[in-house]
């Protein structure tokens, strides 16, 4: 089993990112998500106030209708 198989649908990453404006923060967040190895990701929320941007990125690990890791059965027991 891989840990990722047990994530029902998505992983959200929330943080505060030092950036002057939301566009910059978006680029930084996207780069970070790619660094983490996610491929199917999006920036859900950005709000620039003060020294940086409150940001939330989301990576979908199991989109509806895709093959779900959490449905994968172990190979049947016995031999």
């Amino acid at each position: 089993m891989q840990y990722v198989e047990r994530i029902l649908d998505a992983v959200d990453i929330e943080t505060f990112i030092l950036a002057r404006e939301e566009g910059e923060a978006k680029g930084l967040m996207e780069g970070y998500m790619a660094d983490l190895g996610f491929t199917d990701y999006d920036i859900v929320f950005l709000e620039q106030v003060g020294p940086g941007v409150r940001a939330r990125a989301r990576a979908y690990l199991h989109r509806p209708g895709s093959p779900y890791g959490w449905l994968a059965e172990d190979d049947k027991g016995g031999d």
């Binding site: 029902l8 999006d42 859900v44 509806p64 209708g65």
Partner: protein, 610 residues
């Protein structure tokens, strides 16, 4: 029934003092049981010495925050108790952070109490009263509610009642000699499900004659639309492990009586939906609403099979509905929406046959906000209401046309027409005013100061018109949500608390992904708002939110406006023409009568009753 008093040893194994144990001690003492609370931080063999020394101990409740080595320690404690010959004399209980029943079982304890356990639950266990070790006992006392029970549907506003009687009489008369492909499909579907085997027989072969576009193609050529696939047997079989999933989780129910909370599901895949439903049920949803794809409302006919597709909204098929039904908690209220498309009557038949509790029908909204031809949807809507009465499905009448700019009083007039029609046809309507930051209030400024007064005014107005159940939706707080999950959860919770304060029967709530359009709703976002609402209900308890006097004024204005619109519709002599002419919302409000299904009505041949 008097319970024999028990002797209980309370053991705080954590080095610091334990508030939970003290609360439990008080609850036990209040019920007349004898307790001994040991000092914190004893070694396990010292606890065993205590059990030996204090004769007659029947229960030992150990409290300890669990960590890796702590598990070993507690397991050794159980072993020591047994090896000292005390195991048959005492029942061993463990409580504390991170304690789960599985871990309690693994360590050899007879029961485990995790965080959030109420002292009463421990007392109940000790007294041998009903207790489900894997969840809170509340589940068993939860009843499936009938949202319409206790409502007389008596009108307080007789003027409005008179107008409604005229309008609905005209509608019933007008539709009496008309039929549509939607009406015919519903009848074929009914006969086939009742008389055929599965979807064969009962005249099913004629079904495809009433379908069009991609659906007709599917039945003729067996080709599924793009991005749609049949779920494999393996996938369906593996899902079995999530059956009765709630049996393993703590069911969170607000401790305070409030409206039943509905969540919407419709991820596009029934398997994912089932997991979302199970999550929602566990976090306090009393009901779930099936969201079908908007495309489905625009095509004549429904597909068949266990189908999943990569779009919002889960396909309405007999198999998908049956599958979802299999996994629903028997106490969960289930709504299948039928309100706004070419398949309205057939959807009610499927919902009724699949065992749904509720459906959703509103011809005025379907025409003004969802693109349906007023004539077609009026014929189909009346047929759908008849089916709802046949299956005894309660139905909500939603006023979503407010979102396109129709003022509340016009939307409410449409809602009351459909509700009255439902009553005339023997069905049980539930009024669903929106709690929303609508274009109307943005322009007129009723929510410049607060979100309370105008939403309260809607409830007050409807209550002064008719004694009917109320279910604000859908979802509450519409257009107040942003992509910020904290803001989104808070606004939902506050609107829910307002609804609770106003004493309504149910609410539909959004997830914290409501304003996010970039991808499917995540399960964690559903939990966000359910959790927030629970906290709101806990905060307010039986205290109420006090609207300002403006609420009453606006309620009066709403009633006058509704009465005026209904008089105009009644005087016009045609509900359908009123829709075309904009009496219930027109171009000046941003509402245009739709064209889907235009020209599809036929004169009815010899009536064969179903």
């Amino acid at each position: 029934m008097a319970t024999r008093k028990k002797k209980i040893l309370l053991v705080p194994l954590d080095p610091v003092h334990d508030m939970g144990l003290k609360l439990i001690r008080k609850a036990l003492a209040d019920n007349g049981h004898a307790t001994t609370l040991l000092p914190p931080g004893l070694k396990v063999h010292e606890v065993v010495e205590w059990i030996i020394k204090e004769a007659g101990i029947e229960f030992v409740l150990v409290s300890r925050t669990l960590g890796y080595r702590v598990g070993e320690l507690l397991a050794r404690f159980v072993d020591l108790v047994e090896a000292c010959g005390l195991r048959e004399q005492v029942t061993l209980l463990v409580g504390g952070m991170a304690v789960r029943p599985e871990l309690a079982a693994e360590m050899g304890f007879d029961a485990g109490f995790g965080p959030g356990t109420s002292p009463e639950e421990v007392v109940a266990f000790i007294e041998g009263r009903h207790f489900t070790p894997w969840g809170k006992g509340e589940e068993s006392s939860r009843k499936k509610r009938d949202l319409t029970s206790g409502f007389s549907y008596i009108y307080k506003n007789k003027g409005i009642e008179r107008s409604l009687a005229l309008i609905t009489g005209e509608i019933i008369d007008w539709v009496s000699n008309k039929t549509s492909p939607g009406v015919e499909r519903a009848r074929i579907r009914f006969r086939s499900l009742r008389e055929g085997e599965g979807d064969k027989g009962g005249g099913w072969e004629k079904y495809q004659d009433y379908c069009a576009g991609p659906i007709a193609q599917y039945y003729k050529e067996g080709r599924l639309p793009r991005e749609t696939r049949t779920l494999s047997e393996d996938e369906l079989r593996s899902l079995r492990q999530y059956k009765n999933w709630e049996g393993q989780s703590k069911i969170i129910r607000p401790g305070v009586v409030g409206p039943d909370i509905f969540i919407q599901y419709g991820t596009g895949c029934p398997l994912m939906d089932i997991l979302h439903i199970k999550t929602g049920e566990a976090w306090g949803a009393a009901g779930v609403v099936h969201f079908d794809p908007s495309e489905g409302a625009r095509s004549e006919g429904l597909l068949g099979g266990y189908l999943s597709h990569a779009q919002d909204g889960t396909l309405l098929t007999w198999e998908n509905l049956r599958l979802i039904k299999c996994f629903l908690n028997p106490l969960t209220l289930w709504q299948v929406r039928a309100h706004r498309g070419l398949n309205t009557p057939e959807t009610v038949v499927l919902a009724g046959e699949a065992g749904a509790d509720l459906t959703k029908i509103n011809m005025a909204y379907a025409s003004l906000g969802a693109g349906m031809d007023p004539a077609r949807i009026t014929v189909d809507g009346v047929e759908a209401l008849r089916w709802a009465a046949h299956y005894d499905l309660a139905l909500d009448v939603v006023t979503n046309e407010e979102l396109s700019g129709v003022p509340a009083h016009k939307a409410f007039a449409g809602m009351l027409i459909v509700a009255h029609l439902a009553l005339q046809l023997g069905a049980r309507p539930i009024l669903q005013p929106l709690f929303c930051y609508s274009p109307e209030v943005m322009l007129q400024g009723q929510m410049r100061d607060n979100y309370i007064d105008f939403n309260a005014a809607k409830i007050l107005a409807l209550r002064q018109i008719i004694a009917a159940p109320l279910w604000p939706g859908a979802p509450i707080g519409f257009l107040t949500h942003t992509e910020d999950r904290v803001q989104s959860s808070v606004t939902t919770a506050l609107h829910a608390c307002l609804a609770r304060s106003l004493g309504v029967q149910a609410i539909s709530i959004a997830s914290s992904d409501e304003a996010y359009a970039g991808g499917p709703i995540a399960a964690a976002s559903r939990v966000d708002t359910l959790r927030a609402v629970q906290e709101g209900f806990r905060f307010f308890g039986s205290a109420n939110i006090q609207p300002t006097p403006r609420a009453r004024e606006w309620a009066g204005e709403l009633i006058d406006g509704i009465a005026r619109v209904l008089t105009d519709v009644a005087n016009s002599g045609s509900f359908v023409q009123s829709l075309y002419r904009g009496l219930l919302g027109g171009p000046e409000d941003g509402a245009y009568p739709g064209r889907i299904g235009r020209g599809t009505l036929r004169r009815k041949e010899v009536e064969k009753d179903v």
